[in-house]
């Protein structure tokens, strides 16, 4: 088999297509990076090469950090995404575990209900959600989105985790219980630790969606000090019809760095997690 992999095969089967995919994925980022390092005069110059920087300048980064609450937004985003992810994982696994591993009355109905909940469009929910948040006096607090994001995430997470929980053989738990462990103990000490990659994958998925969320954040977070990255940059770097292109792009890159780091660190688990969820779910 290995012998078949001649350089020609390697070139057309691997390197060229790989190059195509990498270029497709990255060319907008190279553009973003170039724009964030250009002065506006150069950006607007119709004769300048869009992918080349004649006079690199950090002015947009400096302005972004000095004149806006960008770092606060990043911190808010991380905090919100972390809490929302944690709540979603907790509730999602409480939902998924019995559905995946136990028989109880109402289980099929519950499973269908969970599947249907992710068909509910966010656009249907925003008016009632605004009302709910208003009643709880949570407007303009990070709690507002920490509580609403899990409603978007729990159904997805439960579904992803169900696939995972199913992969662990039932005998493991039965054996433990024969040996005198309670159900709770069997779950927390034996099954859940085995599903750690699943939690990581679901967690990363939830984290990505939370930090990207736009609608609820737009509606509930109007104060600059509680904004998340997407809302903050739109609110303060889009002024009327004038876009602060360089700062927007600097924000896009700086805002993605933390997540990119998390991804490259966990990407192995992420891949593994998705598979288990997908194949068995």
């Amino acid at each position: 088999m290995v012998g078949e992999l001649t350089w020609r095969r390697r070139l057309f089967g691997l390197w060229l297509p790989l190059l195509v995919f990498v270029v497709i994925a990255l060319f907008p980022f190279t553009w973003m990076a170039a724009t964030s390092l250009k002065t506006n005069a150069e950006l607007y110059n119709p004769k300048a090469n869009p992918m080349w920087i004649q006079n690199p300048s950090l002015v947009h980064y400096i302005d972004l950090l000095k004149e806006t609450n960008f770092l606060t937004w990043v911190a808010n985003t991380m905090l919100v995404a972390t809490v929302a992810t944690f709540i979603s994982l907790l509730l999602g696994s409480m939902l998924a575990y019995p559905l995946a591993r136990m028989r109880f009355r109402g289980a099929p109905l519950l499973a269908i209900a969970v599947a249907v909940t992710y068909l509910i469009p966010q656009t249907l929910l925003f008016v009632p959600m605004a009302d709910l948040i208003g009643r709880m006096k949570l407007g303009n607090t990070l709690s507002a989105v920490m509580l609403t994001y899990p409603t978007l995430l729990v159904p997805f997470i439960a579904w992803l985790l169900m696939g995972y929980f199913k992969t662990v053989p039932k005998e493991l738990e039965e054996q433990a219980m024969i040996d005198g462990a309670s159900r709770w103990r069997a779950m927390t000490r034996i099954i859940l630790p085995l599903c750690l990659p699943g939690f990581l994958s679901a967690g990363i998925f939830a984290f990505t969606l939370s930090q990207n969320e736009f609608l609820y954040a737009l509606l509930f977070l109007s104060k600059s000090s509680v904004r998340t990255v997407p809302i903050g940059v739109v609110g303060e770097l889009i002024r009327g019809d004038a876009f602060y292109w360089g700062q927007l792009m600097a924000g896009a890159l700086l805002g993605s760095i933390p997540v990119a780091l998390i991804y490259s660190f966990f990407v192995k688990y992420y891949v593994a997690g998705l598979t288990a969820g997908a194949v068995k779910g």
Binding site: A41, A130, R239
Partner: protein, 441 residues
């Protein structure tokens, strides 16, 4: 004067011949002098800790800076109340935020109430302030009352009109032999054809934006003698042979004088195209000139503002883009918010504030018709004319929720775009008329 300062007894500053510099000095002193004003005593009992004020983020940086660095601290110093200044993106995302504030009864105490017909019921009566300001500063333009006055009561205090005029490259126009900005739409088309031939097409926004599309299409329609609805909003007035002529005109203008892309443009797109030298003319607010002056000094010198051309009915129109301030009934202390609004509209605060924005916010007050502030940047003077010939997009019908629906479904704009993309003119008009009947029906 500072110690005895009282709003009502203010000298009419609009009649003063003060230069800008001395005026600013005066204003700064005035702001400091407020400490002895009537607010202190009143707020000694009520004492809200802070007031939240939501407003569009301005592309004239100075304008926000002036508010944050001069006005807000002055008010805090005078009354002990901190002003939380919340800035929002304009257009598509400000209205949802305001709607959400009204629906969940939290957020700002007062705000720029974009599309205020949506939440008039959630605003308190501010007639006392509006009438006082009007009396003091030369009287309000009638046109704005159609928006701010509802059932005989002022629901908002107009702050200013964002002037929308023709923005063009004087150098390229000269080169093409167009020495002065066209006076009629026909001449405008002719000029466009010449400029496009030279590689400098026009870029007239026609997409699902929030201002740059209305600001020329509605005035164009009006100058053909057509309005969308009649005065009572009972009868669709668009169904007319003149409409067909206007649509045919836009079709020609688009095909023969414009860049193809402009049909889908949102509001930032024409700024981008203009600043990157792709178009020679568009309809926009002050933002293009501001960016050019800051980032592209050479272009900054050759940009000029022109008025919307006249139509077959010999009239010239502009679309008003009003910014009005309203106080939410859900505010914990609407009175405190009103006090702040009154203070903000006082000439001592108001004049330097709008002057800090080079007058790109034209006050709806006749007292400013000949104000010295118009000389700060002579090229913004057309904004004053735009105000004089300006109409609300609902004109002559009231600015109400039905009108909001027409605007937010882009019914009239899309009538033009459909015709430009191949729908027969009659069919495009018929479709729009049908939709209007459903909405107003």
């Amino acid at each position: 004067m500072h110690a005895t300062y009282r709003g009502k007894r203010m000298a009419q500053p609009t009649q003063s011949k003060a230069t800008r510099r001395s005026f600013l000095k005066l204003a700064a002193a005035g702001a400091a002098g407020v400490a002895a004003g009537p607010w202190v005593s009143r707020n000694a009992q009520a004492k809200p800790v802070s007031i939240t004020f939501a407003r569009e983020s301005s592309y004239v940086k100075n304008f926000d800076v002036h508010f944050q660095n001069v006005m807000a601290p002055a008010y805090e110093k005078a009354t002990g109340i901190k002003i939380e200044y919340q800035i929002q993106a304009a257009g598509g995302s400000a209205v949802p935020q305001l709607v959400s504030m009204v629906e969940n009864k939290s957020g700002a105490d007062l705000a720029w109430v974009q599309q205020e017909w949506l939440y008039r019921d959630a605003l308190v009566d501010v007639s006392d302030i509006a009438e006082e300001v009007g009396k003091q500063q030369g009287g309000w333009y009638d046109e704005i009352k159609l928006l701010s006055v509802d059932k005989g009561k002022w629901k908002s205090v107009p702050n200013g009109n964002i002037g929308q005029v023709m923005v063009y490259r004087k150098d390229w126009f000269d080169e093409a032999g167009v020495k002065s900005f066209p006076e009629t739409w026909d001449a405008f088309l002719e000029a466009g054809i010449k400029l496009k031939a030279k590689g400098h097409p026009f870029g007239m926004s026609m997409g699902h934006g929030f201002a740059d599309n209305y600001s020329w299409l509605y005035p164009l329609l009006w100058s053909y003698g057509v309005t969308v609805m009649d005065k009572t909003a009972k009868k669709v007035a668009l169904d007319s042979s003149e409409t067909a002529k206007a649509v045919e005109y836009v079709k020609r203008l688009y095909k023969e004088a414009c860049i193809e892309d402009c049909i889908g443009w949102l509001d930032p797109a024409n700024n981008k195209a203009f600043l990157t030298s792709q178009i020679s003319c568009t309809n926009n607010a002050y933002s293009i000139m501001v960016s050019a002056k800051r980032d592209l000094p050479d272009m900054g010198k050759v940009i000029a503002h022109g008025l919307n051309p006249k139509g077959p009915n010999g009239q010239r129109y502009h679309a008003l883009v009003p910014v009005t301030h309203g106080v939410f009934a859900h505010s914990k202390d609407p009175q405190a918010a009103k006090d702040f609004l009154r203070w903000m509209m006082d000439p001592k605060q108001y004049r330097p504030w709008i002057a800090s924005g080079d007058m790109y916010f034209a006050p709806y007050l006749h007292g400013f018709d000949k104000a010295p502030e118009w000389d700060i940047e002579p090229r913004v003077k057309p904004f004053q004319k735009a105000l004089e010939t300006g109409k609300l997009t609902s004109w002559p019908a009231p600015a109400n929720r039905q009108h909001g629906e027409v605007v937010n479904r882009w019914i009239v704009i899309d009538m033009f775009t459909k015709a430009c993309t191949g729908t027969p003119v009659k069919a495009a008009i018929a479709e729009a008329v049908k939709q209007l009947k459903t909405i107003y029906g």
